[in-house]
Amino acid sequence: MLETAFHPARTGRNHLRVYCRAAGFPLSRADEVLVQVGLADAGNRRAGGYSLGMRQRLALATALLGDPSVLVLDEPANGLDPEGIQWLRGFLRHMAHDQGRTVLVSSHLLSEVEQTVDRVVIVGAGRLVREGSMEQLRSGADGAGTVLVRGPDIDRFAHVLRADGAQVTQEDGTLTVHGSSPADVGRRAFATGVELHELRSRTSGLEEIYFQLTSGSEQFAAPTPTAQEASR
């Protein structure tokens, strides 16, 4: 999808019609997929004048012409503006959940992927590193079952938890409770009557999980730039 493969002088609608003809679909399919990807108004404009986001939408429309049951997209969010990304997220979920299609997305934008996908396959240096749902990946990562707690009266709460036998460390006004869950810690705080300002599971983002899983096997390892270099 990253490739913007169309003749710049041809309109988006005509571009799609070419492939309707070649594949034997009715020409009306071109208009249907233009509506689906939100390009209905731009269909009669030359594709050469499209923005990067519109080109991505046109490429997506081309992929949809054949009403595929499996959709394979390479970096579909590239070049989309924030609204476009949000639209794409909803569109792909609609394709997968409401219409029962399989949508495969390959991407380097891990935080973006995290919000969209059901299952993750991490590939590093050509090898399968980990495969599973986001929850499975999180539970297998470092920091699983760790709860972070903040509040004005954190010292007293630390004593309470330690008295319960929990493993607690304290640093800069933040309690780290190991081997527990936010529900258990929250219940204890409520019962004790301690005011809390923050209570969350220290779950890792996909990016963090990725680095934990692929550390040492980076394909293009480069020295981290120093502050001086970076400011140049």
């Binding site: 490739e3 913007t4 493969a5 169309f6 003749h7 710049p8 002088a9 041809r10 309109t11 005509n14 571009h15 019609r17 070419v18 492939y19 003809r21 070649a22 594949a23 034997g24 081309t62």
Partner: protein, 251 residues
């Protein structure tokens, strides 16, 4: 296959390349016809006088000069896929790439029939008006019709050669520049040097001259042999292109 041919026509007629090339060919043939007729009978030009059969055959063959534009039409038709990277969706839609090349050969041959008939019709009308004003409009019978139709056939075959050349070279600019250099530099040199002019009749330009009227040229093949030779070159290029170039990876 009909689907693929129609897809090629959709590609062709949804950009303006065809219009530019057809108008260019029409303007070119009007210009040549007028120029040729203006100097007909002029002792210095060596062009026979209006009204003679030789004049008429030469004047009605000027349409064949548009061959370069038909060659470019074919080249662009094939190489635009690579230039604009539409080769990716095209070959995804039709994974058997040979079929795409065959569809292009058919589509451009058929379109060129129509375009070539337009060109020779303009050729005839221009000559008829101009030569008519100078005394004798050529009749649309016998040898004259044959000359017009063989010009048209030559144009169609050159479009086929263009598709073949495009399939072989893939690079649009390279194929067009190469085609121009070959037609206007290499062949005239070979044609003019006595030692190599014997080979000229076997070359595309020699085939073209054999097919259309000849004007103080070297020894040539018969008209139908020339046509087959030309067509052979086009199909050979397409075959080699399919086997060598089109099968390569596209990104």
């Amino acid at each position: 296959m009909i689907r693929l041919v129609r897809a090629e026509w959709t590609k062709l007629f949804t950009t303006k390349v065809w219009l530019g090339l057809l108008l260019g060919a029409v303007v070119m043939v009007i210009g040549f016809s007028v120029l040729f007729t203006s100097f007909a009978g002029n002792a210095e030009s060596g062009i026979p006088a209006v009204g003679t059969p030789l004049y008429e055959q030469l004047a009605l063959a000027t349409g064949a000069n548009a061959n370069i534009l038909f060659l470019i039409l074919g080249i662009i038709g094939m190489t635009q896929e690579y230039r604009h990277r539409t080769a990716t969706p095209t070959f995804l839609t039709t994974p058997r790439r040979g079929q795409v090349v065959v569809a292009k050969l058919l589509a451009y041959a058929l379109v060129s029939v129509v375009f070539a008939l337009v060109v020779v019709a303009v050729n005839y009308v221009t000559v008829a008006i101009h030569a008519g004003a100078r005394g004798a409009a050529p009749s649309l019978t016998g040898d004259n019709v044959e000359v017009l139709l063989s010009s048209a056939l030559a144009l169609v075959i050159y479009a086929v050669i263009g598709v073949g050349l495009g399939a072989l070279l893939k690079n649009q600019v390279g194929a067009i520049v190469g085609g121009l250099v070959y037609l206007f530099v290499v062949e005239p040199v070979i044609r003019s040097i006595p030692a190599t002019s014997g080979a000229y009749k076997w070359m595309p330009g020699g085939g073209l001259e054999a097919l259309t009227a000849t004007f103080e040229g070297p020894e040539l093949l018969g008209a139908w042999q020339g046509a087959l030779l030309l067509l052979g070159y086009g199909l050979l290029a397409a075959l080699l292109g399919t086997l060598l170039a089109v099968r390569r990876d596209v990104v």
